[in-house]
Amino acid sequence: MRISGLVGASALTFVLTSGAFAQEASLDLVEPIAEYKIYVSEKLAKLVEDTTAFTDAVKAGEVDKAKELFAPTRLSYEAIEPIAELFSDLDASIDSRADDYEKAEADPEFPGFHRIEYGLWEKNSTEGLAPVADKLLSDVKELEGRIASLTFPPEKVVGGAAVLMEEVAATKISGEEDRYSHTDLWDFRGNFDGARKIVDLVRPLIADKEADFLKTVDANFETVDTTLAKYKDGEGYVTYDKLTDDDRKVLAAAVNTLAEDLSTLRGKLGLD
């Protein structure tokens, strides 16, 4: 789920400086954009596979198994969230929160992963979730099909890294995304990996001119990595409430800086 919360400072930077970069976009972007699409396609293939197993478990009434599969299944979705703006309708049906609906959790329209999460953790049950599971799987498959034939606008890909970091800074950091399961750290893993992938792919284009910028960005990604690593548990992560106040502050600071810094990436690549 993407919420490009307005982290004012970065948005302001954008308003103030767009146009100030005389930089022209270059065809050197073709390679990273193509690579990124292949990355997304691989994530989506994995998402379809994992969502199939997850929704099968939900439909079979296997609460424990479904709970176990929830966070790992979401990982691939969270990794492609930088480009969720390209499919806002499916993003809503796959990953919206109860707050988007008039009657919140009780709203029959409340769909997707978080509707299932609510059932599994708050009700400890899969009752009534079969149609939600079917819809989720068909949405995820539709997403895969749609992405396959979609030409990625380069400014959306490059801008997506910042947009996602802004969302994490503005909302996700509070633990709102996975509020019933508290599996937020898994989502963070996906979000940071997904955003960093974009930076890594365009890195060769700016390595010389923007060495300092890249150094700062890398340092912040590393801070995130080190912090998340402390909470590693097997293949995944402990629940979000285990995060200490200090570490939460460290994460928040790193994400805020990333959001601000990455909001200049489009301009640096001539894509504003």
Binding site: A9, L16, A252
Partner: protein, 396 residues
Amino acid sequence: MSSSDPQRAGGPPSRLTTIALIGAGVLALAGGGAFYLASQRAVRPSEPGTIAVRVGDKSCEPMDLTVPAGRSVFEIENASNRPIEWEILDGVMVVEERENIAPGFRSQLAARLKPGVYDITCGLLSNPRGKLTVTASAHSEAEKVKPPLKAFIGPLSEYKVYRALRSNRMIQAVGALSTAIDAGDMDAAKSAYAAARTVYRHVEAVSGRIADLENAIDPVATYLAGREQDPAFTGFHRIEFGLWHEGSVTGLKPVADKLEADATTLRDRLKAVKFEPVDLAGNAAREARRLAEGPVISGDNLYANDELVEFAAAVDGLEKPVSLLVPLLAEASPEMAKATTDAFAAVRAELGKLSGSDAAPVIYSDVSPDARKALAADLVALADAIDRINPALGLE
């Protein structure tokens, strides 16, 4: 899409419950939330020409906006009693957005917009959307007939992805072919062969120009001194000769292994090919002419006789790069965009007419010289249509 913003105090009761549920979130306020709220206040004085949009509980004010193409700055005021998002939507794609604008706050958003009609969101998902009309400017009109270089990055990337995926599939299919030959399974070998040829045809417009590989992968006996006995008779057609003419897999294993290695090299070489914007159409037109002059007239698949199936795949391969330019072409010249689409349809119709049915496919040796000429003429007409694309996009 929006979600709650748990950091906001004084929301409706359901929201407070939410906050209680996610105690973790409240603690985070010290970090992200505080920064976030502070930043929302930091709205600069409006730039001249800033477009004001007030979002109330049920709608935007105004619901109908018109701006000229180019860069516009919007200032969104949240006059409703809950946090809102404001998005400019082009179909399902969010062009620009600001989310979590707290009640009573304003937020600015800059967007560079092309002419067209967009939706704007106005708070709750269930609220009606407003309309944003972007009118043409002298600059946007000029860009239609000469799109900036960055307009080609998406199409070029997409074609690169296409080549990568096709050539990977070719490696898989040739691998399956090799396995089937090893197992002496004629049926499996024939179907793997057909699958590999289909994807080969998809990328042939590019691969056909990598001469050394083309000579290893796709030589036709007709052009070799010793014909089928020539040591240079390798690759696909050698296998085709074995499977269909000799009806045996004898001696094909090393050929298949070599083909597999060449397919891997082909993938890497295709990956390294650097395309310029002119190459998307240029390459497709050239390949259409090559097909018209050579394979369509004289036939390529002398033993399997399934050219009609392969030509259909080749046309798909021509259409891929061209289709990526069609959205730009439709802006520059809607008539030309239609003419291009029509030319593809004409070739497909001609192929369909010749191909017979699935149950009784027509073999190419039964296609008369006149029918071949007619198909070739359609391909030439297609090439002519494709040739008009680059000048229309200011590329030549």
